[in-house]
Symmetry: C2
Subunit: 349 residues, 2 copies
């Protein structure tokens, strides 16, 4: 693969003193020190990505990356494969969870067809970046050829190059994609596959055992795929590969990346194995109930904002957490200081 | 005390079949069963309070109950007492955390002066329900006389009677009020005072030890005060007593009550000991880092929405959680069903 990754700057090197100034600014706000907990950390993180002492959130947009997975032939999902395109239709019609959440919170939404086994035609809010009609079955072959994987990565990059806002909310749809995410997690973090494999859309215990056995065989089939890109091509998915390109490009452009659940986190994992600096731009919206997610977040030293027992995907957790980013920006930008408000500070004790 | 509590209906008795219908409605939405986790529970709880199969959130309003505490004379707080009135000024000027959060999320805000040691005069967004210039020092005397406590309770009731919306967000301000909340928790739940006593606005360990010793003596001083109302008068605060009246009235009128942190939870505890049915109307916004809060929530079988390490009060956690209520309403009201969207359901597995 001749994929050239975009350049990403190190925010901790290039912004000398900014973090200290932001910490001082937050500490001077009219509240006991540290009393806004994770909201304070979030506010500082957002301002660091913005590269300034205040926070600007411009044109937040949810990108829902969709594709089908050949691995579904092995019976790894509780839902039939046609649900992928049916749910894309539901996104576009405004009836899905991500649709109603984006609408109510003022987030623009677009569906990115990276490889759904369906022809949608020209549609509002749908971007056609289809590389293939679904990935191949990784049980017997690489999910993508090197060319397909590279095309998906480049599609993700160009998608973000054309986006003028500064907040990318990541979402996805693809029946079978918790399997791809579990495979990427296991290979790239070294965790055993059983610890990465969960119920997905609702498998019972016997079906999870079957899924785990299938995935163990897929790992064996692709035991030579160890680099992030080889691993992505062999066992990932077209929506995940496109998302990896989008994440790398968004990081390169210093956009705020709001990560959703297990599958989008697996794309961030791949991107962070290519360049760890992407993590400086990532806000992890929640810890889901999908089995591998807690360990996946921990492997990236990520602190999720919400713990609501979600396991839907689509970007729904990112959209649910979005108002917390708005809140953090308001705190950083608009709260008074002890001095400006004329409030007495803490006594010695 | 001749206080007559308002009548509160039992939603589980008076709404035969509604919970089942709501559960069915949520389960038919286009998502894996239960995959929106706590948001699904929240949506059902809100609709049950509304008493219908959809959710209406009308004119959400944050009521910030403020008062001073005579117990501050014993050195139980890290901040000087004048911070109470200074922060009220900050709320009104728009510089406090609760001010900016309410503004950015479209929540109306009003400060209720229940007993601040300061004369504010006539001010926009300030309601004068002052019963006294601060409570008495409960180290040596009851915090309130029975008459004062009753007046505060009735003030809280009339406050809510005049409010035409259906979402009450609870907040408070009162230097020293984590002490009052810890005393109420310890006496009414039986938990030892050390487990209820935390850092408040930022005490160090030695100061927490001193606070704990003071509170143990207060409990001894008022060992005869065991009923919820006697306990409230002896060791509570004017803002807490007014809030208890407001909670009982809001529950009586089937309003949604969004609970903030440790102090507002202690008011809900008192109200729930008077009538447990208030809890059917309470949404617990977050679990704070103040020491006793986790146990206090558990004693009411409450499931908090957020766990962000907050310990600010003011209603800030309630305002941060408010968009989750908006999200839950959008999910319940606007998401499509499998049938309406033409999406295939789960396969047998």
């Amino acid at each position: 693969m001749t994929y050239i990754t975009p350049t990403i700057t190190d925010l901790s090197v290039n912004q000398a003193g900014l973090k200290d100034r932001l910490t001082h600014k937050i500490n001077q706000k009219t509240k006991p020190l540290g009393s806004l907990g994770l909201i304070e950390k979030l506010a500082i993180d957002l301002a660091l990505i913005n590269g300034q002492e205040s926070i600007e959130l411009q044109q937040p947009k949810a990108f829902i990356f969709a594709a089908d997975h050949g691995l579904c032939e092995q019976g790894v999902s509780a839902f039939p494969q046609e649900v992928t395109w049916q749910m894309v239709e539901n996104f576009l019609a405004g009836g899905a969870a991500i649709s109603v959440l984006c609408k109510v919170h003022g987030i623009d939404m677009v569906v990115v067809d990276c490889g759904v086994k369906h022809e949608f035609g020209d549609r509002d809010h749908l971007i056609n970046l289809k590389v293939a009609h679904g990935s191949a079955n990784s049980f017997t072959a690489p999910a993508m050829t090197a060319q397909e994987c590279q095309q998906a990565l480049e599609n993700g990059q160009s998608l973000i190059q054309q986006y003028t806002g500064n907040v990318v909310l990541l979402g996805e749809m693809g029946i079978g994609n918790t399997s791809a995410a579990a495979l990427l997690q296991s290979r790239l973090t070294g965790l055993d596959i059983a610890s990465c494999t969960g119920a997905g859309t609702g498998l019972d215990n016997a079906a999870i055992d079957h899924k785990t056995a299938v995935l163990a065989q897929v790992l064996q089939q692709h035991h030579h795929a160890t680099s992030p890109l080889d691993c992505l091509a062999a066992m990932g998915g077209l929506e995940i590969a496109t998302m990896v390109g989008a994440i790398l490009q968004a990081a390169s452009l210093n956009k705020i990346i709001v990560v959703d659940g297990f599958i989008t986190s697996s794309a961030v994992l791949v991107a962070s194995k290519i360049n760890p600096l992407v993590l400086q731009r990532c806000i992890f919206s929640h810890q889901s109930d999908e089995k591998g997610h807690k360990a996946l977040l921990a492997s990236m030293a990520a602190t999720p904002l919400l713990q609501l027992g979600l396991r839907l995907g689509e970007g729904s957790g990112a959209a649910l957490a979005w108002p917390l980013l708005v809140s953090a920006a308001a705190i950083m930008n608009n709260m008074a200081s002890f001095e400006s408000a004329g409030v007495s500070e803490k006594s010695a004790n």
